[in-house]
Amino acid sequence: MAESRSLLPWPVLRQLTSGDLLGRGKAVRSRRTDEVEPRTTTADRVARSVCPYCAVGCGQKIFVKDEKIVQIEGDPDSPVNRGRLCPKGSASKNLVTSSLRETTVKYRRPHGTEWEELDLTTAMEMVADRVVKSRRDAWQELDEKDRRVRRTMGIASLGGATLDNEENYLIKKLFTAMGAIQIENQARI
């Protein structure tokens, strides 16, 4: 077809010579149409992943091109979902590439009325300072009945059902070592 185009670029001629006299098919294809390839084919790599929404655990394939996610769809090999996804799973690319995502730390000082910008390491230092202080300030070596409890009641946490096992493991490990016990997640809700 490329050949015929180079020889006969004029649509009417293509129409007359390509067997598409009414000019509704082969004769009217643009170069872009001829060269089209799906993003799933041209991707640099495919990461095998799992849908982040509910707990069915649908397998996903994440297609990456130039370090950008270009498509997320069901993994046909998965015995869980056989390649299928619900609307939420199908919107996974929308989730991770949304322009509404936060990409920098936002900070609201006490009594503040607006967000402020904060760089990541400064924010981490500030949080570490506060964790150390709150842990110390609300430390209980003994409880009100004089039982040894060695814990802090100053720090609480909620969340984990959307996180990875490895993350939850480190969270529980660190908080337990620090003596923080009010550690909870969606499973309680």
């Binding site: 006299l21 098919g25 294809r29 996804l85 939420k88 799973g89 199908s90």
Partner: protein, 303 residues
């Protein structure tokens, strides 16, 4: 070539459009009896084809907030709340869940919630394509009807021509590169070129949307309707499967559980260019007569 049925009647559209070794015609069979109205098809379509949002507005038409097929909505799931106590013929339009039923609750155990994912029909005789003056709309080797964004000039002839009201020019959102351009389902033409399934069919959790060779899908649809009839679902019927219908049969067939009108589908669509050959013949005759007259007058002028 121009075949006898190039504009009306049964036809295999790809060879008719000049493809000599075209693959088997591809299409959809949407079995609404297993549709759960999840809208995965709508989302998967938008994600793959970069179709922007349609509108953020609750319509109150049961769970349908997508309204209709349009330039920003290439798949559309209709929801029909159907109190079975009323005769089906009264349901001219999709029920919006609003009408207050006077029937006692016990008397209507067969309340039905019908859902159906609508899509471009990829007609055998596609009026949109027939009227497109730029060659933007074209018949692919898969027998499907596809807009070429790089050619469309937004004239809108196709919009009026479609008997299903599928194709539309994109109106927004502002900044979208395809605003003003005619848009509709491509049956994921790009994916098909590499042997992949259209995004909606790949996502559909219950295989309500099936993709494949139209001939085979037609057989599958017939078998399914037969099975449902055996199981006592006498309302099951096919839509778009008849090559003798007004558009020569469609590339997207449906198994419905009620009259097409209930789902917002035209009961007897006819390709708007059906009369073209007759018109062409007459116009041709008239034109020839004019030409002959002109020639004659020209001849007569010569001394």
């Amino acid at each position: 070539m121009i075949g006898r049925n190039s504009l009306f009647g049964p036809l295999d559209p790809a060879p008719d459009a000049g493809y000599t070794d075209a693959p088997k015609r591809k299409g959809f069979f949407t079995d609404t009896s297993v549709c759960i109205g999840c809208k995965a098809c709508e989302v998967a379509c938008k994600e793959w084809n970069d179709v922007p949002e349609n509108l953020f507005e609750m319509l109150g038409t049961s769970y349908d907030n997508s309204h209709s097929l349009n330039a920003n909505q290439w798949r559309h799931v209709a929801f029909i709340e159907k109190p079975a106590s009323k005769p089906a013929v009264d349901l001219g339009m999709p029920s919006v869940g609003a009408p207050v039923s006077e029937v006692h609750e016990d008397d209507k155990p067969d309340f039905q919630w019908l859902m159906s994912s609508d899509v471009c029909k990829h007609c055998t005789h596609a009026a949109c394509l027939d009227v497109c003056p730029t060659g933007s709309l074209f018949r692919s080797e898969f027998g499907t009807v596809v807009v070429q964004d790089d050619i469309c000039n937004g004239c809108g002839y196709c919009v009026a021509a479609c008997p299903y009201g599928v194709i539309d020019r994109r109106r927004g959102p502002e900044g979208d590169p395809k605003v003003g351009i005619a848009q509709k389902c491509t049956l994921c033409y790009d994916r098909l070129t590499d042997g992949q399934r259209p995004a909606c069919a790949a996502a559909c959790p219950t295989e309500s949307i099936q993709y494949g060779d139209v001939e085979e899908l037609r057989e599958r649809a017939n078998a399914r309707v037969e099975l449902l009839h055996e199981r006592g679902v006498m309302d099951a019927r096919l839509y778009g499967n008849d090559p003798e219908d007004g558009v020569g049969g469609t590339g997207a067939m449906f198994l419905l559980l009620d009259e097409p009108e209930v789902y917002g589908l035209p009961p007897d669509p006819v390709v708007t260019t059906k009369d073209l050959p007759r018109m062409f013949t007459r116009a041709g005759m008239a034109g020839t007569a004019l030409l002959v007259g002109a020639a004659l007058s020209f001849v007569r002028r010569r001394p």
